[in-house]
Subunit: 539 residues, 2 copies
């Protein structure tokens, strides 16, 4: 009977697709179970489990197919950028602690934009010089520029897993926020490198690039905010929940995704767009939907993001044994290792070259308690060394399509970049968590940074009192009178935040809804704390 | 600046894919808004809105491209069967009223298996005779058999939208349950037709087919139940909720999907498998997860299913203007209309030929109150006339790959089948709801069937008393003493249900969890009613 059945085998479906999907879904299930079991282990996490599981299954496939191919699914940039990345970045925006994020906005922008550019320049220069020394001559200047952009793209997905938003709030928002801006910057740089005419570089090129970047940054952000506000306004006005919870959830999900796709269509940075769309949605839209939609969106978005993350790591792991590339590469193990080491050294130096200087500059402008200590600088440097799927996607894009150059150097570059990604993810991904605990948490109490928060909150309360008199709060009676200007100089971000809150309450919330502007449902997962985002507290 | 930007246009992503995804997501958003606005209109619904919107955008694309192609996304069976169908069928199983479903199980099996076979035979025969009369001679006997299988596949997606589980519970479970079994039957028939050697048909062939079907039916069902139980046991044992709600939701989603993919891989019926997996998951697994996972899964699965449904209708609508097929078809409008009418007439007759006889047979074996009145028979006949995406997918499979026959007849068959699908979905989809209200609800109170339920529940309570004595319930003191055998003869389904409940409580629930075997969380969306599934009541 089974014979007869398989003879009338799936006439309808494409068998390789079915096999690939089945393998991936099964691996995802395995990763989730493993991730659950190693939850309390501080060395392991889901990403590494997924990566190793992907590698292992790649090896098994390789054995089964007798060394022909390890790939069940060929790495596809569309799959990654269109389907896997958006849910991850959207969820990051949706669940980020907004107040903390905007408080560190200047830090994030400096690291994300100037840091990436410095790293890009250094890695390009280093690659150019080093490859000549090693004896690889077929790489053009353009290839080196591309390598600079490729290796400047940090992996924010793994960072999310190794840093804790609760334990190290400043580091989390700085490193993760940098990662989001870095994504945009490195993709802009990569696209610019692709389109640039090397023979015709002048002073204007750099200016043009900067202009492009600023255009991209602002239009992407505005698009994301606009779609977020549209969703808030639409859901508040039409009141979908009257008929169906499902429509609310569906429209939130689809509009967020639409913002990403429209941004990509307009050649903007979809990552920036969907990130800001997520922030706006959590601030307004989320409060306008029914209670069950709130619970559903919070967990469903997190789940989708979680599945996409795990999928990416399995994918990267399985794709690392891309045997055709390894064969084509034709390089000895020695050369591969030397090149990989050289690339990784460039990554280390490139990152150090901006983290420490920028931190110093920031420290000069800041008060004692808020400055970035040398230990934190080290962690910022360290946590941003992980390279991930964006790097691999860009590497494939650069080194697999070109037909003019020698194929074996291209293949070698891809395999070496894969080695860098695997090494950084496994080693840095597993060491970072214990390292942070050893370096930071034992010595400096993480609450100190929180206390700073409360101090500035206190200042804010002072600021909001029209007469500026002392608060009738026993513990703070000795608080000195401070002028508004003085406060602004001392706590510029807090003042901006205060002004924003006033503007928000007066103009935005009445139109777009948000907490306090929709009927309160008892038992909802809202916190009563003063955080702007209550998504985080009720986790 | 924009010029410069578009010149460094998306170096990374495939532009057509981005456009296609953007268009579809935008159309989905529009459909949701329209569906919300026409919610109270009993003639319109989301499916029809999606279909018409798809048609309209197809026309726009056709105009923009100056008549070259209306397709933003070419109809792809993989997309449909691998990504869109599973969430719909899983959710149907997850949210179905289980007691009602199993009560009507014999009806569902009779309609779904024998009905589909009768319809298949009649349509095949009719197509063979009619096409000869019309003058289309290039269709082989094999093509006619395929047409029989293709047009016997009812569309359960639209049925879900036009029938209400609350208002007409019997009709909903009968027609929808039939649809699920029908899907399996017609795909088995279609695959069988593909692999059969026409020149070598004997009496054994039919027997073989039946054997195949039974094998498929049981293995698929068992696989679904096994995966469902595995998820319940795994979640109960490992207690994922301890660390993360997201893992619970993810593992439920992935395991359900895995059951579908494994079934497809083994050439079983994925639809049957995932349907039963959904039923088992709602009975056991759903009760083993945390409170927020319960809310999330309930709404997230419904949302995914809802998005997939809407997507399919947009897809079918947009694909209807497949201009290359229309051009290739080369048939006059007259011929197309005649063939479409002939096909549709066959659908009408084919369905009538099994609904009425089977209903009569069923009525002979049933009590007066439970029999299928002529009005209900009419609705069952009517609601099952809708043809949908499965039909189109099978038609493309049959008539677009073959190279030996004349291409224009193949194309004509595809266009005619598309006409049948569009016509049946728009007309029957919009008329069915008002029709049911006119025919059924005005005359017969839908609650009569519910009262029957309570009567048999009463009987059950009698049955469960060891001494068989009367219940000390004031309203039922006059209930006559009935022997167990008498009860079994009068209410065989209820008795089976009772025995199942006993077995469930004694052996299954202690192992696999389920309601009452996990700590009760106050404020959970559980009902206190006696329904087996509380998913439905808390809707």
């Amino acid at each position: 009977m089974v014979q007869t059945l398989s003879s009338m085998a799936n006439a309808i479906l494409d068998q390789p697709t079915v096999i690939a999907v089945t393998v991936f879904v099964a691996l995802l299930c395995a990763c989730i179970v493993i991730g659950h079991l190693v939850e309390e282990n501080r060395w392991a996490n889901e990403s590494i489990a997924a990566l190793l599981l992907g590698l292992a299954s790649g090896a098994v496939v390789l054995l089964v197919r007798k060394g022909q191919s390890s790939q069940v699914l060929v790495f596809n940039e569309d799959l990654f950028f269109i389907y896997l990345l958006p849910p991850i970045i959207f969820n990051a925006g949706f669940q980020v602690k907004k107040k903390r994020f905007f408080k560190n906005f200047s830090v994030i922008l400096l690291f994300g934009i100037f840091g990436t550019i410095i790293s890009f320049c250094l890695i390009t220069l280093g690659a150019f010089l080093l490859f000549k020394k090693i004896g690889i001559t077929s790489l053009t200047m353009k290839d080196c520029l591309a390598i600079g952009a490729i290796l400047s793209a940090t992996d924010s997905v793994c960072t999310l897993q190794v840093l804790s938003q609760e334990q190290t709030p400043f580091l989390y928002s700085a490193v993760f926020g940098e990662g989001v801006v870095n994504d945009a910057t490195s993709i802009v740089l990569f696209n610019a490198v692709q389109s640039i005419d090397i023979s015709d570089i002048d002073g204007l090129t750099a200016l043009k690039l900067l202009g492009n970047f600023l255009y991209l940054f602002f239009t992407s952000t505005i698009l994301g905010i606009a779609v977020g506000l549209l969703s808030a306004f639409g859901i508040k006005t039409l009141y979908f929940g009257r008929h169906s919870t499902d429509r609310e959830v569906a429209i939130m999900m689809l509009l967020a995704y639409l913002s990403y796709m429209v941004a990509e269509l307009l050649s903007l940075s979809g990552i920036l767009t969907i990130f800001f769309c997520g922030i706006v949605m959590s601030h307004y839209t989320w409060h306008n939907v029914t209670e069950s939609s709130r619970v559903t969106t919070k967990h469903a978005f997190a789940t989708l993001s979680f599945i996409a993350e795990t999928f990416i790591f399995i994918y990267v792991g399985m794709d690392a044994l891309d045997i055709t590339k390894w064969k084509e590469s034709n390089a000895s193990a020695g050369t591969s290792i030397i090149v990989s080491l050289a690339l990784f050294a460039l990554v280390l130096v490139g990152r150090a070259a901006f983290v420490y200087p920028i931190s110093c500059i920031l420290n000069c402008t800041k008060q004692g308690s808020e400055e970035i200590e040398i230990k934190k600088q080290f962690i910022i440097w360290w946590a941003g060394l992980i390279r991930g799927a964006v790097t691999i996607a860009l590497a494939y894009n650069q080194f697999s399509s070109s037909g003019t150059k020698s194929a074996n150097v291209d293949s070698m570059m891809i395999t070496c970049i894969i080695i860098v990604v695997l090494f950084s993810t496994v080693v840095f991904g597993s060491v970072t968590k214990p390292l942070i605990q050893a370096v930071l948490l034992n010595n400096a109490n993480p609450l100190t940074s929180r206390e700073n928060d409360f101090v500035s909150l206190e200042d804010l309360r002072l600021l909001s009192l029209e007469n500026g008199g002392p608060v009738d709060n026993g513990s703070n009676q000795s608080a000195p009178r401070r002028s508004k200007l003085q406060l602004f100089i001392r706590h510029p971000t807090s003042t901006v935040h205060h002004l924003w809150r006033k503007f928000d309450d007066k103009f935005m919330r009445p139109v777009f809804g948000g907490r306090g502007f929709v009927p309160f449902v008892p038992g909802s997962p809202r916190s009563t704390a003063g955080e702007t985002s209550d998504l985080n507290n009720s986790n």
